[in-house]
Amino acid sequence: MTDKPLTERIAAAGGAVDLAAYERAGGYAAARDALTKMSPKDVQEIVKSSNLRGRGGAGFPTGQKWSFVPLGAAAGPGHRYLVCNADEMEPGTFKDRFLMEHDPHMLVEGALIAAFAIGADRAFIFLRGEYLGCERALSRAIAEATARGYVGANACGSGLEIEVAVHMSGGRYICGEETALLNALESRRAQPRTKPPFPPVSGAWGRPSVVNNVETLCNVPAIVRNGAEWFKKLGLGTDAGTKLFGVSGRVKKPGLWELPMGTPIREILEVHAGGMQPGYRFKGLLPGGASTDFLVEQHLDLPMEYGTIQAAGSRMGTGTMTVIDHTVCIVDLSRNLQHFFAQESCGFCTPCREGLPWLERLLADLEAGNGAPGDLGVIEENAQLIGVPGNTFCLHATGAIEPLASAIKYFRDEFEAHIKQRGCPLRDVRAAAAAGR
């Protein structure tokens, strides 16, 4: 059995996988088995015991999430929804686009099985508005799967109706927050909802719903086909399965690779990404997107797995890392990050709407040489106030503060030097690097 369930067909095809290639590789057999030979509870149990955890960033156990949906008579009349979060917008993340463009049937089959497992008759793929290539690939795959009877009125001959459709988003990072995503799916403003109730009880249009990431759902067909034990053994340590890990920044070979869960950071950086480009030294990295805490040299031998990265004070997030080199000023980079989070705040609650732009301005002042003694304390105090979960309505601001607080933690000298020297101490290094490009 394969050790690269997400990318083996793409590698074999040397590019995009069409329906014929997907079927030749055993595609839709898992969906047919699940829908005609298993109960929703059976499917939930396999996924639960496989230890599959959400690949969108939070790492919540997938089978457990599914089990919160009331089944049978408890669900009441009306639709139930499986919603795929395909709104890939976490800065530094480029994995879901690859999967959808290259093997769209894998996602359609995963969504179909997941919908069955929660008793849903509707599956929506909530797709990022800029991802027009994915829209073309998915629309075609859904049409083909419908024509072949895998999805639709009598999905896989099960007698059940399961429809799969794409919703193209209108934009905004906050749509990645699952209750904001549900509001966006309903064509409302994408402001997060009060929790509880959680989506499995009251989600899209007030009906039981589950929101799963693209990569999460793509793992489901192979788990059903090969079993939970097989999936668990793919991981090197405590976490199960493989993961799409990526590296961007000034490395020799930026890219994306399917590797065992628990692969050490150093192996990803040095073996797969080829190490730093000549003339650039490693300074730090964001392990899984803009909203994850920085890691530095001392962390490079850690395995990429949920618990270990969390114990190191960060989060694995999306598993696609951004490498920071010695020419990058941590203050200006922090300003760039806060600019992103300030711009993408939904504006609903005050600490996030007002606080993040304020932090951005403070950081810009520091970079411009207008910092004053005590500014760092002001930034830290406000970062603490804005970032503590519970002080804001959702976790957007918390995510914004993770890279800022960790930047100050690991690079305090550089922040202080900006104030003491009234300007950026890396100005010459940055100018030299820019001139040498």
Partner: protein, 165 residues
């Protein structure tokens, strides 16, 4: 006033737009839930969404213009002002920042003669910043009219723009 005259005051959508929006209604439990789909469809045909289009969408979906506008103004990919024939979006998120998007933005501003948010005097290009395009292994990245442009270096801009009349 006869009903015929009253209807004449309601801005209309083209038959193609109306048909495309009606096709989306099959997927959602109520018409207003297709507001974003309707906005995207109208923008695809007209380049942007005018006040008249907002009113027409509201009429078609049986909701209020204020409700449609509150949705339209929340989402950055819905344009409530006219844009140029081509929309140039440059990524300004973290990986592109590390790979030099500030220098790219400066060159875009110099070459096009407009600040981000602006449209060139000849109506050819609108320049907009965009968040991470999911192409970080080919940073800096841009998107022109929905197509990715990868590994962009400032000296390449002339030949890139040459492809867009």
């Amino acid at each position: 006033m006869s009903s015929t005259n009253a209807n004449a005051l309601i801005p209309t959508l083209s038959p193609v737009e109306t048909a495309a929006i009606n096709a989306e209604l099959a997927h959602v439990p109520d018409p207003a839930s297709a507001t974003i789909e309707a906005l995207r469809i109208v923008q695809r045909h007209r380049g942007w969404v005018s006040d008249q289009s907002i009113a027409a969408i509201a009429h078609l979906l049986g909701t209020s213009a204020a409700s449609v506008d509150s949705v339209a103004t929340f989402y950055n990919l819905i344009f409530r002002k006219p844009v140029g024939r081509h929309v140039v979006m440059y990524c300004d998120s973290v990986s592109c920042y590390v790979m030099g998007c500030d220098a790219l933005r400066a060159e875009l501003v110099r070459k096009l003669g407009v600040e981000p948010g602006g449209t060139t005097a000849d109506g050819r290009f609108t320049l907009l910043p965009i968040v991470c395009l999911g192409a970080c292994d080919h940073a800096p990245a841009m998107m022109i009219d929905g197509e990715l442009v990868l590994d962009v270096a400032p000296p390449m801009l002339d030949s890139i723009f040459g492809r867009y009349a």
